[in-house]
């Protein structure tokens, strides 16, 4: 027995001493995704898939400029050098494509590559139709009706209606290599040996375990040639696992460290990186039924929430108060009449004026479906308990119904019918990256299901009119100003209980240099280096 124990001790110690240092210039990232996002082009796992796979291996015709922290990313030329809408027929767009760009397999990028990709998403009859990838992305590409090749480096896009939102859709369509697809003729196989034009290429793919990328030395933009040799992406859905992996030096970068670990990480010399980005977390209310059909109750609820308390005490400053769909300082924030600062007295006053004295007459009890965890949901249980308590303090009673994340997304899709007939609100976080994600899908009457996800339903002629006008305004500054007006309408109507905006916390080892946190869901990994 003692010999056995002795053997064990020696074995463990020798293993410990043999600890291998990681390769130089390798950036290892612990993702929150449970699995490696789809590598076949039109990726899955929401924006985390775009962040680490879609936009690293592949590129769209138009890129986000992710090089700055101090302003929202603008749209810059990607695989297209320029684009413009036709003056004579505003339903036609011309894209001039970049020359001398090569896919990772060595084949040339040209107009055929774009048409090939377009058909893989939009044309069910095409041999290369990617059922899975198409289902991930085509709802974002509603304005892409048809594409035509004018010459090898020029394509014409046709839209079903006049819409200025085309560039905001084009950013989501990444271009895949037709030559590589011809070799394998199957998307699953393509995903295991993918080929795009992005700054990184796939060298190793171990399903459910790791994806290894190496720098694409022949990348067309010398300014964005990666500084690291290698990036290793590891799915780690458990927050404690991510934390342990970072602290033990197994990874250099983790997404979303648990908020209560932040002080400790900072003390240990780790970098905590945050920035505002278009994310919001709140309750989507059912507007055709008590209690939320009453605007006064909705407003009172919004004045009842102690957002600063939630961010300070619960989330260790990894969020900022949310008093609208967008945050203050965002070009779409505008100047809403309602400020929704924490003011329980005002909330009670509003309720009283609406006939609710808080004793004999209270708003009808509401049910809110919330998740127990989930992508972008932050700390849903604790946060919702605070929201519930804040609301109770002013005389609004809400029952929380926690369900698992997969079920919540399914219930969201159903809307407030069927299984959800007794539900008055859903707590899901959203992005407002572009006008459709931020406003169009929720606050236009034409987005009522089955078209899109205006499940509340929010039907407001002014909002409809402004959104239509924004879509037809091609001057971006003017478009922003109109969208700010939409935002003012939405905030003052309070169809949601606005709660917080996440700050996208990441923790990194002190060796990680050069990362610029953009005001975005995406990141530019090309400028990051890892010190020895």
């Amino acid at each position: 027995m003692t010999r056995f124990i002795g053997f064990l001790v020696v074995a463990v110690l020798s293993l410990a001493l043999a600890s291998g240092a990681s390769a130089e210039g390798t950036l290892r990232i612990g993702m929150t995704a449970a699995d490696i996002p789809y590598t076949g082009g039109q990726t899955d796992n929401g924006f985390e898939g775009f962040r680490f796979v879609g936009y690293q291996i592949y590129e769209p015709l138009i890129n986000w400029d992710l090089s700055r922290s101090d302003k929202l990313p603008s749209l810059v030329p990607g695989l297209a050098e320029s684009w413009e809408v036709s003056k004579s027929d505003p339903k036609k767009w011309i894209f001039k494509l970049r020359k001398n760009v090569k896919f990772h397999d060595g084949s040339a990028f040209n107009a055929d590559s774009v048409l090939f990709t377009f058909d893989s998403i939009k044309n069910k009859q095409a041999a290369q139709f990617d059922q899975y990838g198409s289902a991930q992305i085509s709802w974002r590409l509603s304005a892409l009706k048809a594409m035509k090749k004018l010459d090898d480096y020029t394509i014409e896009l046709e839209t079903p209606t006049v819409t200025s939102f085309v560039p905001y859709q084009i950013v989501y369509m990444v271009i895949v290599s037709p030559a590589q697809w011809d070799k394998v003729k199957d998307w699953r196989k393509f995903a295991e040996q993918p080929s795009g034009t992005g700054p990184f290429r796939v060298t190793r793919f171990v399903p459910r375990e790791r994806l290894e990328l190496e720098a694409n030395k022949g990348y067309w933009d010398p300014k964005r040639t990666p500084k690291v040799d290698k990036v290793v992406l590891l799915p780690m859905p458990e927050p404690t696992t991510r934390l342990a992996a970072l602290r033990s030096g197994q990874v250099d970068w983790i997404e979303v460290p648990p908020p209560d670990s932040i002080a400790q990480l900072k003390g240990g010399g780790f970098q905590i990186v945050t920035n505002k980005y278009p994310h919001n977390w709140g309750h989507i209310l059912r507007l055709d039924k008590e209690p939320w059909n009453n605007k006064a109750v909705r407003k009172a609820a919004n004045y009842a929430i102690d957002r600063v308390g939630i961010c300070k005490n619960l989330l260790n400053d990894t969020c900022v108060p949310g008093t609208g769909v967008a945050y203050k300082g965002h070009p779409w924030f505008g100047n809403p009449k309602e400020t929704y600062d924490y003011n329980p007295a005002k909330a009670k006053e509003i309720l009283k004026a609406a006939g609710f004295d808080g004793v004999s007459k209270r708003p009808a009890r509401a049910v809110a479906l919330i998740s127990t965890s989930g992508s972008g949901q932050m700390l849903p249980l604790a946060m919702n308990e605070l929201v519930q308590k804040n609301l109770k303090d002013v005389g609004i009673d809400v029952d929380l119904q926690p369900i698992e994340w997969n079920s919540l997304t399914q219930r969201f899709r159903i809307g407030f019918t069927g299984e959800n007939a007794g539900v008055n609100a859903l707590n899901i976080s959203f992005n407002f990256l572009e006008p459709f994600s931020g406003f169009g899908r929720f606050f236009h009457s034409k987005s009522v299901p089955p078209t899109s996800v205006n499940i509340m339903p929010f039907v407001n002629p002014e909002s409809d009119k402004l959104l239509d006008e924004a879509e037809k305004t091609f001057d971006l500054a003017k478009q922003d100003a109109i969208l700010a007006k939409v935002h003012e309408v939405v905030v003052d109507e309070a169809p949601w209980i606005f709660v917080v905006h996440d700050l996208n916390p990441r923790a990194m080892s002190p060796k990680v240099k050069g990362f610029v946190p953009p005001q975005s869901w995406f990141v530019d990994l090309t400028q990051v280096s890892v010190a020895k």
């Binding site: 027995m1 056995f4 064990l8 463990v12 293993l15 410990a16 043999a18 600890s19 291998g20 449970a34 699995d35 899955d44 929401g46 059922q131 899975y132 198409s134 289902a135 991930q136 085509s138 709802w139 974002r140 998307w187 699953r188 399903p207 459910r208 375990e209 790791r210 590891l234 780690m236 458990e238 404690t240 696992t241 342990a244 992996a245 602290r247 033990s248 030096g249 197994q250 369900i403 698992e404 994340w405 997969n406 079920s407 997304t409 399914q410 219930r411 969201f412 899709r413 899901i428 899908r441 089955p450 899109s452 996800v453």
Partner: protein
């Protein structure tokens, strides 16, 4: 003997069928669906219907089940919904990883557990017995995922000796062994406790029998008496070892999740949250098969060691 083995193998078929039906029914009873795991919430009705058709979810449940069964009989476990890879590949890779952990943790648990149990039995009611029993009780009572987290905090985060997660083979065999160390210990705790306790009570049982007294009375050396005791206690211990090894193989969902160890438990956990029916069904079926075969092996071993069992 062979007739017995054949009968037992035939009996395994309804067991496996039952297991697969229960898993199938339970996953469909649970709220949520596979479509929610693989499509964005904004996907259109048409996309959802197309996807359902592509995976065969538009068919009634019994039809879905029978189709699956028909393919399994031909050796095809189908394709994962989430990764669209053949399930057999996922099961193969994860089973290999889990087997490694199951073997290493079983060796650790069996060795240490039997040693502790015998130690306790031969020093009954003395300090050594109390100590061994205390260790056994701790092993059984401490949740192994919690123990896993504590091990990570001590050996990965504080001491920085061993990796906290994954099964990377980057550092070759040494790298793999280093990744194995902590999950092995965490996984060994419960069987160690169980085996120590069973061994102790089995050995005590034999020790208190008259033939042991007779052996001692005729002046047999302590080592020889020990051998007789162990041999007589063996069938009982082996039954537990077999069961525990089965548990080690399939029951490590929590430990594998804590260490992100890419084994069957980790795969099951992922598949449950993604509602990945084919993967879930495939893993359970393979694990159940292992369980059945393992039980059979234990029974055969028992008859071999104690021929009296075959006569009953």
């Amino acid at each position: 003997m062979w007739g017995y083995v054949g009968r037992r193998l035939l009996l395994a078929i309804p067991t496996l069928l039952g297991a697969s039906i229960i898993v199938f029914a339970m996953v469909h009873l649970a709220p949520g669906d596979p479509i929610s795991a693989i499509l964005p919430v904004d996907a259109s009705k048409e996309q959802i219907e197309d996807t359902k058709r592509a995976y065969g979810f538009d068919k009634p449940l019994p039809v879905q089940y029978l189709k699956w069964l028909g393919r399994v009989v031909q050796g095809d476990l189908g394709k994962s919904i989430a990764t669209r890879r053949a399930v057999i590949l996922d099961v193969r890779d994860s089973l290999a990883n889990s087997l490694v952990l199951a073997v290493s943790s079983s060796l650790l648990a069996f060795g240490a557990g039997i040693a502790l149990g015998l130690l306790a039995a031969f020093h009954q009611s003395r300090a050594l017995d109390k100590l061994a029993s205390a260790i056994a009780v701790i092993g059984v009572s401490v949740p192994h995922y919690w123990a896993g987290i504590i091990l990570i905090i001590i050996f990965s985060v504080q001491l920085n000796w061993l990796p906290a997660m994954g099964a990377s083979s980057d550092g070759g065999l040494v790298g793999y062994l280093r990744h194995m160390a902590l999950p092995t210990i965490a996984l060994a705790l419960i069987p160690l406790g169980v085996i120590a306790r069973v061994t102790r009570s089995a050995a005590l049982d034999i020790l208190n029998q008259e033939f042991v007294l007779a052996l001692r009375a005729k002046g047999l050396a302590r080592a020889r008496v020990f051998k007789h005791v162990v041999k007589n206690a063996a069938p009982q211990i082996i039954t537990v070892l077999g069961l525990q090894f089965g548990f080690q193989l399939g029951g490590s969902v929590l430990v594998e999740a804590v260490f992100s160890w890419p084994g069957t438990g980790y795969l099951l956990n992922l598949a449950i949250f993604q509602r990945d029916m084919p993967v879930l069904q495939g893993v359970i079926l393979v694990l159940a098969t292992f369980f059945v075969l393992l039980n059979l092996l234990v029974d055969v071993l028992q008859t071999y060691i104690d021929p009296r069992i075959a006569r009953h």
